[in-house]
Amino acid sequence: MGEKGGEDVTKDELGALILQSQRQLYVTARAILKSDADIADAMQETVAKAFGKLWTLRNDAHAKTWLTRILINECYTIIRKRGRTVSLEAMGERAEEIAQTDGPQDYAALYRAIGALPEALRLPVTLYYLQDFSVREVAKTLHITEGAAAKRLARAREKLRDMLGKEISE
């Protein structure tokens, strides 16, 4: 039996969970960081911290939000240390590029449009639509109320419609 952490999750189980969800974690990190080198640092720190804090994880039903929250904190730590920001003008230019794209590139355009959203909207969209988090899980991960999470998702949908100039559904 593996070494125990918390009440139900063993270290072996945590390791397996992390390896299974690497891609999802990567996609979430991409919503905050743009450089793969930064993302690699953030994800490695996340793994180390997750094992170190395993005692705070009470059962595997919460592991997804727990792990994602650690990752998001690590991504912001890197941003703060390296001062990486995207100017509003650059975001506006990207939004215009996206609006002009159509045809087979639609999915890519949609993905880029999500990337061009303001961060407060980009993260909830990434978690909800790309990672299948529930509204409650989004709220818990981002430390906001469920009402705020639902409102941000609604605003994000409107912005995506404006950016892409076409009908967007869930």
Binding site: K11, L19, Q22, R23, R30, A48, I78, L110, Y111, G147
Partner: protein, 464 residues
Amino acid sequence: MKIRDARNAAPDLPEMVGERVRMEVNRQLSAGERKRSWTPARAMVLAALCVVCVSAVAVAAVAYHMTLEQRGAYSVEIKVASQGETAVPEKVADIAFTPGYVPEGMVWRAEDKRIASPDTPHHGGVSISRMLLAGGGEDALSVTDKNVVESEQRTFAGREGVYLRFDDLRQDGTFNQRIVTLCPEYGWVVTLFIGDDVSKEDAIRIAENMMIEQTDVMIDTADLLPWGFEYAEAIADERPVSIAAGDIALHGVGEAFGVPAHCSNAEDAVVNVRVDSVQIADDLSLLSDGVPEDWQGTMGADGKLVANTLSYIKTGDGVNTLDTVIRTEQSAQKLVYVTLTYTNGTDAALEDVLYNGALMRIAEDGGRLTVVTDAELAGNGIDRISGDSAAAMGDMGYWSPRPDTGNGGNYIARLAPGESATVNMAWIVNESDLAHMFLNVTGGASYAFDDAARECGIVDLRVK
């Protein structure tokens, strides 16, 4: 196009990233080893943390000292003075608590930093909080408390602190003790709020055996209130508590009216509400969704609601006089169970429609409606009335449906255009309040006539 389809364009995991993750997982799982690799990025983060830790150490290098001073027969002032003043660091490391002692019959709840009985996890017991230790110098930090019947300055496992016990007219799980301790090496003041279900001996033993450890979670001190912070005086509530009866619509049972629809997908929608029935009961059998935690223990051996023991109190000033119980009496408690219909009269679907009911105690006299307290109704110099059971006006104590969509669960998940949904709300009230009940379903207050209530009206539920 569906937003979820964007995942088709999400990039694959780069091999370099995957390799780093696998290496770290393997390293963490290596038996007996907890080595971590040192990347340039990690070194940078560590260096930054060291800078912040130096600032925190600078706080600790200034000696803080806690004292207790009497300010009246029942009032004390806790002061924290320092020999010098340091600039508050931009960030401070958070602290984690691990109790070394938990009273028999109680458990430690790490998620909300409480020690409590498993049967009543949110009442009584011990609740732990920390506030930033900041400032000092010539202006000592201080907090003044009233209604203190016992106070003691002492140390708790080497930490300076004070023990306070407050006047407590009845044992009901409310916090009647407090232990405040200094934690200057980490930059915090730690407070234990202790319920009257914990003895003084256990409270002190909990404080003396509480392990406090610094975590690696850094908090912006700009987001924290320091211990001793003086809150600005509360702005007076300007909402009227008394209005002319003609200035507000009084709806009856069976009458539909519009109220703001607080929903997630529309800003100014309106939903129609109608109270279909009001049932008064001596037990809780109408509650099909289970008995709320706060109403546990309200049923007697005969299956009926127990009587509420009411204490009629003359309040003291808390400095030189305490509250005094003038008399006690028994009151029957009643379940008030209200069934409502919410209808979407718009041409668009409404999602996550919040519903809320606030029961108001209103006296009608000379063409005026006045929101009153039970003490005001009792008169004869009584300042407040305290009961030992669950009876209360105000926000609904029970509600249904409870979809898993919103905080508190008081939502209707979706109302299509023209669709209706049934909502049930319930309260336990003292029998004497049945003749004064009005229901506010606008989402507003129970203790004043706010704008929404005056605009939409309230429902007359009085049982004559």
